[in-house]
Amino acid sequence: MKLLELHKGDRALIKKVDTDEALKTRLASFGVVRGSELTVEACSIGKQTMEILVDGTLIGLRGEEAEKIEVEKL
C-alpha cells in the first residue's frame, strides 16, 4: 500500500521509494529508504501534507510525495 493511505498513528515498513533521483537523495538523507520503519504523526486537512517519524527524525511531506512511497503496514 501507499504511505498516503495510512492514518495518524499508523506504523509501517518502507518497501519502495519510487521518485526521481533528486528527491530520492533527499529522502535517503532523512533515512527514508527501503527497510526503514515509519510512524505517521500528523496529517493536515485532506492529507495535503503528512508528518512522519523515521529513526527519530520528524519529516513533513506533501501528499503527492507520500503517494510515491510504498509501505507495508505493521
Partner: protein, 698 residues
C-alpha cells in the same frame, strides 16, 4: 603565528553557527531553529593558543551532493577549496541521520573531527553515546560538545590543534552489508595480489569506490592495463549487489548501504536509549499546533495577538517618545541663536529622526515575535500547515520561511529564498516578498492608523488586516505569476520538522538587540542625512519676493486671526515653490487619481530610498508647532486618500538596499526593472480601487 583553516560542515539545523559563536566567544552569526538559517558561507577569525583560527561556516547540507542553491555552496567549497580541518557537526539526538553525511565526508580523505553537538539535550533525553567506540568505527576524533552550555568547547579546540599539527588520515572500520563486504574483499584481494596502487587510496577504498561507481576513479583507471582484468570482477560483483538490493540503481544501493551502516553504528554506540522526554513533548505540542482543523486557526490567532500587542503595548511608549522629541526640539530651538542652524536641527533632524525613532517600541515587539517564531521550531510547522494552501497558489510551503522573514526585513528574506530548490519557485517567492510588509513600513501604518482610527481597541485589528491582506495579495500575485510567467513543474515538499525548543532568553535578546541597534543606527545615519536633504529641498530656493510681500501684508493687518492665516499661507507658498514642491508637483498628476497631494507624493518617492524616510518626510512637510504628527495628518489628509496611501505603501517597491539584494538574488538588474513595473502597477491599481471604494462608501 600559524593559521589553521577550519571548515564546519553538517546537516541543517545541527547548530553549526551556534557552535562557532560558542568557540569564538562572540554572537556574530545568526542562529535559529529551522533548516536553512545560514544560506551563505561566512568566515569568523579568532585566536586560540597562539594559533589564528579561521572558521568557515557552511550552510547545512543533507548530503554532500545536495541540490538546493545553498547546499551547492557547501559542496563546492568542500571539494574545491583549500582548508586544514573539517569539523563535522552532528546533532547528538539525531545521530543516525547525521552520520549519513559523515560517511560521505569521510570519502573526501581530509583531516576531520566529529563534534557531537547538543550533548546536553542528548543527556536530558537519556541518550548515552560511547565516544570511544564511535572513534574506533569512524576513525576520527570525536568530541561531545554543547554550543548552548559551552561544555566540551575547549576540548574541541584542543583536538583541532592536535589534528592540524599531526599528519593523520582517517582510518575507518566501517562494515557494509554481507554481500557488499564479500565483493569488496574479492576485489581487494585481486588488487593486493597485483600490488596495484593509485593515489594514496587503500585497496579496500579503491574496491568500494569501484562498486559505488566513483566517476573520478574510473577516469583515472581508464588507461590502466589492470582495467581489463578488473572489469569482469566488478561486473560480477555488481550483479550480486543488484540481486541483493533488488534494484539496479547504484545510487539507491549506496543509500541503502549507508543507512544500514548508520543504523548499525547507532546500535553499537548508543548505550541506553530510554524514551526521552523531549521527543514526547514535541509530540504533545504537535498534537495541538498542527492539529488537522485547529492548526491554521491557532496560527492566525497567534499572529492576530502579536499585532494587538504591537499596537496596544507598543503604543504606550510611542506617545511618550514622540512628545519628548517635540519638547526636546522646542528646547533646542530656544537655545540656538543661528537661524539656519536652528531650522536644520529642529525642523530637519529632530523632526525627521524623532518621528522614526518614536516607533522603536513597535519594531522591537515585531522582532520579538519573529525571533520566537524562528527559535522555537514553530516556523517549519507553519510551513507544513500552509503548504496545501500555498500550493494552490503556485507557491511552495517552504516559501513561508522567506516570506515570514520578510515581515522583519526584505534583505535577509531575499537571501532566505535560496533554500528553494526550483528556480521558478524561488523567483516567484522573490517577486512577492515585497508584499510582506517589512518592519520599516510598520511606522507608516502605525502613524496612519493612530491618526485616522479613533478607537484604540480596533487599531490592532486594522494593523492585522493590513499585514494579512498584503500577504494574501502576495499569494494571488504568485498565482498570476505562476500561470502567466513561471509555468512549470512544482518542487516536492519534503522538510525536516525540528524539535521544539524553549526559546532561550539570551538568543531572543541578541536577535532583537541586533535588529533594534540596526534600526537606531540607521535612524542616526542614513535617515538623519535624508532628513537634512529633505529639509534643504523643502526650504530652498529661498523666495525673497513672496516672503517680503507677505510680511508686509502681515504687518498691515491688525486682526490676530488674519495674521495667523497669512503666516500659514506664506508657509504653504514657500513649500510649494521649493525644490521638493517642484518635484512633487511634477509627478503629482500620476498620483492624482489616487487622491494624493504633492506632499504625500514626495513622501512616497523618498520612501524608495528607505521606508522610514516616508515618516520623517511627512513629519518635515506637515510641519506644525505643538501638535503630534498624527493629529496634523488627520487635519490635512482626507480619509480616502489616507487609505489609498497605506495600500500604496504596502505594495510598492522595497527600499534601495533591498532592491539591490533582490537584483543580485534574482540574477540581474533586468529583474529589478520587472519588479519595479510589477509592484508599481499593482500598488497603483489597488490603491485606486481603495480610494474609489472608500470615497463611495464612507
Amino acid at each position: 603565528m600559524d593559521t589553521i583553516k577550519i571548515v564546519l560542515a553538517g546537516q541543517p539545523n545541527v547548530g553549526k553557527s551556534m557552535l562557532i559563536n560558542a568557540m569564538s566567544g562572540s554572537n556574530g552569526l545568526k542562529v535559529g531553529n529551522f533548516s536553512g538559517v545560514t544560506v551563505e558561507k561566512t568566515e569568523v577569525c579568532f585566536e586560540h593558543h597562539c594559533h589564528q583560527f579561521e572558521m568557515v561556516d557552511l550552510p547545512g547540507t543533507y548530503s554532500i551532493r545536495g541540490f538546493s542553491k545553498e547546499e551547492k555552496v557547501a559542496y563546492e567549497y568542500l571539494s574545491n577549496e583549500e582548508y586544514d580541518v573539517i569539523i563535522n557537526v552532528l546533532d547528538s539526538t539525531h545521530l543516525q541521520r547525521n552520520l549519513l553525511l559523515t560517511l560521505e565526508l569521510l570519502k573526501l580523505n581530509k583531516k576531520m573531527v566529529l563534534a557531537l553537538n547538543m550533548a546536553d539535550e542528548a543527556k536530558k533525553e537519556g541518550i548515552d553515546i560511547d565516544v570511544k567506540q564511535l572513534e574506533k568505527i569512524i576513525g576520527v576524533p570525536v568530541v561531545l560538545v554543547s554550543a548552548n552550555t559551552k561544555e566540551g568547547v575547549d576540548e574541541l579546540l584542543d583536538k583541532i590543534h592536535d589534528i592540524a599539527d599531526s599528519c593523520y588520515r582517517p582510518k575507518s572500520n566501517i562494515t557494509y552489508s554481507d554481500a557488499m563486504e564479500e565483493e569488496i574483499l574479492d576485489i581487494q584481494k585481486f588488487l593486493d595480489d597485483r600490488g596495484f596502487k593509485i593515489r594514496d587510496l587503500s585497496s579496500r577504498e579503491i574496491a568500494t569506490r569501484l562498486l559505488f561507481e566513483d566517476k573520478d576513479l574510473y577516469k583515472e583507471l581508464r588507461d590502466e592495463p589492470i582495467m581489463i582484468e578488473l572489469q569482469p570482477l566488478v561486473l560480477k560483483a555488481l550483479q550480486h549487489l543488484y540481486t541483493h538490493h533488488e534494484t539496479k540503481n547504484i545510487k539507491e544501493i549506496k543509500y541503502n548501504e549507508y543507512n544500514a551502516i548508520a543504523r548499525g553504528i547507532k546500535m553499537e554506540v548508543i548505550k541506553c536509549n530510554r524514551a526521552g522526554s523531549g521527543k514526547n513533548l514535541t509530540k504533545k505540542i504537535d498534537d495541538v499546533l498542527i492539529h488537522k482543523y485547529f492548526g491554521i486557526p491557532i496560527f492566525l490567532f497567534l499572529m492576530w495577538g502579536l499585532f494587538h500587542l504591537i499596537f496596544t503595548i507598543g503604543d504606550i511608549p510611542v506617545e511618550i517618545i514622540s512628545r519628548a522629541f517635540s519638547s526636546f526640539g522646542a528646547w533646542m530651538g530656544s537655545h540656538i541663536s543661528n537661524e539656519f542652524l536652528r531650522n536644520v536641527i529642529v525642523d530637519g533632524i529632530i523632526a525627521g529622526v524623532g518621528a522614526v525613532l518614536s516607533f522603536l517600541p513597535n519594531i522591537i515587539l515585531l522582532y520579538i515575535g519573529i525571533a520566537l517564531l524562528e527559535t522555537t521550531g514553530y516556523m517549519s510547522r507553519v510551513a507544513f500547515l500552509l503548504d496545501g494552501f500555498f500550493h494552490k497558489f503556485g507557491l511552495h510551503g517552504k516559501s513561508f520561511i522567506p516570506l515570514v522573514t520578510g515581515f522583519g526585513c526584505s534583505v535577509p528574506a531575499y537571501m532566505a529564498a535560496r533554500t528553494l530548490k526550483s528556480e521558478k519557485d524561488r523567483l516567484i517567492t522573490l517577486f512577492i516578498i515585497g508584499f510582506m510588509s517589512c518592519g520599516a513600513r510598520l511606522p507608516i501604518y502605525m502613524l496612519f492608523t493612530s491618526a485616522f482610527i479613533e478607537d484604540k481597541s480596533i487599531a490592532g485589528n486594522v494593523l492585522f488586516v493590513i499585514y494579512i491582506s498584503g500577504a494574501l495579495l502576495g499569494l494571488v500575485m504568485a498565482k498570476i505569476l505562476r500561470v502567466v510567467v513561471f509555468k512549470g513543474e512544482d518542487e516536492p515538499f519534503v522538510m525536516e520538522m525540528p524539535k521544539y525548543r524553549f526559546p532561550s532568553f539570551k538568543l531572543i535578546w541578541h536577535t532583537v538587540y541586533n535588529n533594534a541597534k540596526g534600526y537606531v543606527k540607521k535612524a542616526g545615519s542614513f535617515i538623519l542625512l535624508a532628513s537634512i536633504l529633505v529639509w534643504v529641498l523643502a526650504t530652498y530656493p529661498s523666495q525673497k519676493g513672496i516672503e517680503e510681500s507677505y510680511i508686509a501684508k502681515i504687518e498691515q493687518t491688525q486682526n490676530m486671526q488674519e495674521k495667523l492665516d497669512l503666516e500659514n499661507e506664506l508657509n504653504v507658498k514657500k513649500l510649494e515653490n521649493s525644490y521638493l514642491g517642484q518635484i512633487g508637483k511634477a509627478t503629482e498628476p500620476f498620483f492624482r487619481p489616487l487622491g494624493f497631494d504633492w506632499k504625500m507624493v514626495v513622501a512616497l518617492e523618498s520612501g524608495l530610498a528607505a521606508k522610514e524616510i516616508v515618516v520623517s518626510t511627512l513629519s518635515i512637510l506637515y510641519n506644525g508647532k505643538g501638535d503630534t504628527l498624527a493629529n496634523r495628518l488627520r487635519d490635512s489628509i482626507p480619509p480616502a486618500s489616507a487609505m489609498a496611501f497605506i495600500v500604496f505603501v504596502m505594495l510598492y517597491l522595497p527600499c534601495l538596499a533591498a532592491s539591490m539584494v533582490f537584483a543580485k538574488e534574482a540574477g540581474g538588474y533586468k529583474y529589478l526593472v520587472y519588479l519595479f513595473i510589477f509592484t508599481t502597477a499593482t500598488a497603483w491599481i489597488f490603491s485606486f480601487i481603495t480610494y474609489k471604494a472608500v470615497e463611495l462608501f464612507v
